[in-house]
């Protein structure tokens, strides 16, 4: 630690940082990236191990955070965790973002490493665990991921869930659940997951299959603020429209501040536009209790003319949307990867086929609902 001050022969460069107390250095390193933190080990001997006094680890296998091979990434994670465990270093926050895509052998290796790391984190007393896995659809990760305690953020892509679901899922701290391209082999799996997460604020489903019901409960999911359901298949649901109406009712009861729903099912089922209106109406109308406090609604693949007509009409009538101050419409520009405002009139007459995602921004007169969360990444 103190070596740096010993042979200070150069007149100009007085080392003002190496001598700082350890807790300050640790505070400084807390806010840099894992890469920048670990690289400080090359500065001088006294810096050799300072990075590992950080209580947060952020290991992310995505460009540009990690530019080398997956094998190397796995080794880095494994070594780092071993170091923290062997030296009994304090680890409070752990963020792991990993991809299992690759050949069969490396998949198996990744899964077995995850299987080793996850219980280790629990035993090391990690308080905040953020996990993102881009899986391989042939891998069933149930037996691995559902052991993860202290998970706060969980993002799972491309995976099937079904077998080996433990009796109790320890997701009591989970706040954000993002599931993309997940195949649920049976409904119990999904029910079990969401009934184990009382602190959820964000539920995000994208292109999931096998979701026949979504049972949300007023008492259980009282913190729910953001709900997204996009591109999910409901072919196996007998009456998709009814299913959506039921879902809308659940959402009404919970009144999250942000809802994104996908109407692609209706195109498949060729349900007439007026039925869509019923659905949009269902989301807004809370049977005499005033409008649901939705501050942000995204509707994809919906017949725009019908829904715009509906929203306009509603506004004129001033009934369910009586507190609506402003409605703006934005399209997602895939080339620029950002939302662009569009004029309602332009939308109605222009070619709509190129637009894949549209969102409405609703401004309620109640100032408490003005803030539009940044949710789309």
């Amino acid at each position: 630690m103190k070596k740096a001050k010993e042979d200070e022969a150069r007149p100009k460069s007085i080392d003002m940082i190496s001598g700082l107390p350890k807790e300050i250095l640790h505070k400084i390193l807390y806010s840099v990236s894992q890469k920048d933190a670990v690289r400080t080990s090359v500065l001088s001997k006294s810096w050799r191990n300072i990075w590992s006094t950080r209580t947060n680890l952020d290991l992310d296998f995505s460009h540009p955070n990690f530019t080398r091979s997956k094998q190397e990434f796995l080794t880095v994670v494994d070594k780092t965790l071993q170091l923290y465990r062997d030296q009994r270093l304090c680890l409070e926050e752990f963020h792991l973002s990993v991809s299992l895509l690759g050949d069969y052998y490396s998949d198996r290796e990744s899964v077995s490493l995850l299987d080793k790391w996850i219980p280790l984190l629990t035993s090391m007393g990690v308080k905040e665990f953020r996990l993102s896995i881009l899986s391989n659809e042939f891998v069933d990760l149930s037996s691995v991921v559902f052991k993860a305690e202290s998970l706060v953020f969980f993002c799972l892509k491309k995976c099937k869930l079904g077998e080996k679901i433990p009796e109790n899922i320890p997701f009591g701290s989970l706040q954000v659940l993002r599931l993309e391209n997940i195949f649920f082999e049976n409904e119990i799996v999904f029910e079990k997951i969401i009934s184990s997460c009382p602190l959820l604020t964000t539920m995000w489903f994208h292109e999931c299959r096998g979701l026949k019901t979504i049972k949300l409960e007023n008492k259980l999911h009282k913190y729910l603020k953001h709900f997204t359901f996009i591109g999910c298949y409901t072919y196996d649901v007998q009456d998709a429209r009814l299913w959506f109406v039921e879902l809308s009712k659940l959402l009404q009861a919970l009144s999250p501040s942000e809802i994104s729903l996908d109407f692609v099912q209706f195109t498949h089922y060729r349900i007439a536009h007026d039925r869509e209106d019923v659905l949009v109406h269902d989301i807004f109308d809370c049977s005499g209790n005033g409008p649901v406090a939705v501050e942000h609604l995204e509707l994809s693949s919906v017949d725009l003319s019908a829904s715009l007509y509906f929203l306009n009409e509603r506004r004129d009538y001033g009934e369910t949307l009586r507190d609506l101050e402003d409605l703006s419409i934005e399209c997602f520009d895939t080339s620029r990867q950002q939302w662009q405002p569009v004029q309602m009139a332009t939308l109605l007459v222009s070619e709509l086929r190129n637009i894949s995602r549209i969102r409405y921004r609703l401004k309620w007169s109640d100032s408490s609902f003005r803030k539009i969360p940044t949710f789309y990444i």
Binding site: M16, I17, L20, I28, V32, R39, L43, S44
Partner: protein, 163 residues
């Protein structure tokens, strides 16, 4: 204890080089160290701060006054902090982080630490050494070994002439 009377109480702080500063108690108690002294009744005379020099203390007091004048609005406080730190050189920042640590002022401590961290972002080892005056006491072999151990951290780093 602190708010018994209507008139604002003023405290006198003394730096380790014997400079005296007057500061409103309401601003000074942003420092948990000072607040504890006030609560323990040591505020009658002069509060000696043995680990802070006059130059740094003057700067910290400017911060105390500035930030406590802003009502509870985290965004405004943050922009004040950013502005306050924007023209400080590293030497001042290092003194300030030590003072904030001693005075137990978490908001200043966090802001200064983050500011120092920002300087290091994506910078090469050579650059950080020069910037902070860190002497490399590794032998070339040792340095190569440490580099090899953490070689993934050397990609995407700003290039440097003496790396």
């Amino acid at each position: 204890m602190a708010a018994e009377t209507g008139t604002p109480t003023t405290l006198t702080l003394k730096s380790n080089d014997d400079e005296l500063f007057s500061v409103a108690e309401s601003a000074a108690i942003l420092s948990v160290t000072i607040r504890n002294m006030v609560e323990d009744g040591c505020a009658g005379g002069v509060i000696p701060l043995d680990n802070v020099d006059g130059k740094t203390l003057a700067s910290v007091i400017t911060y105390m006054n500035g930030i406590s004048a802003i009502p509870a609005d985290e965004e405004k406080k943050k922009s004040y902090r950013d502005k306050f730190l924007s023209d400080k050189d590293f030497e001042t920042l290092a003194d300030m982080v030590l003072a904030a640590n001693y005075l137990n002022m978490s908001c200043l401590m966090d802001a200064v630490s983050a500011k120092i961290a920002q300087v290091m972002e994506k910078k090469s080892v050579g650059w950080v050494r020069r910037k902070f005056g860190i002497e490399n006491d590794y032998t070339p072999e040792e340095e190569a070994a440490v580099k090899e151990e953490h070689k993934w951290t050397f990609e995407g780093v700003e290039t440097d002439d003496d790396n």
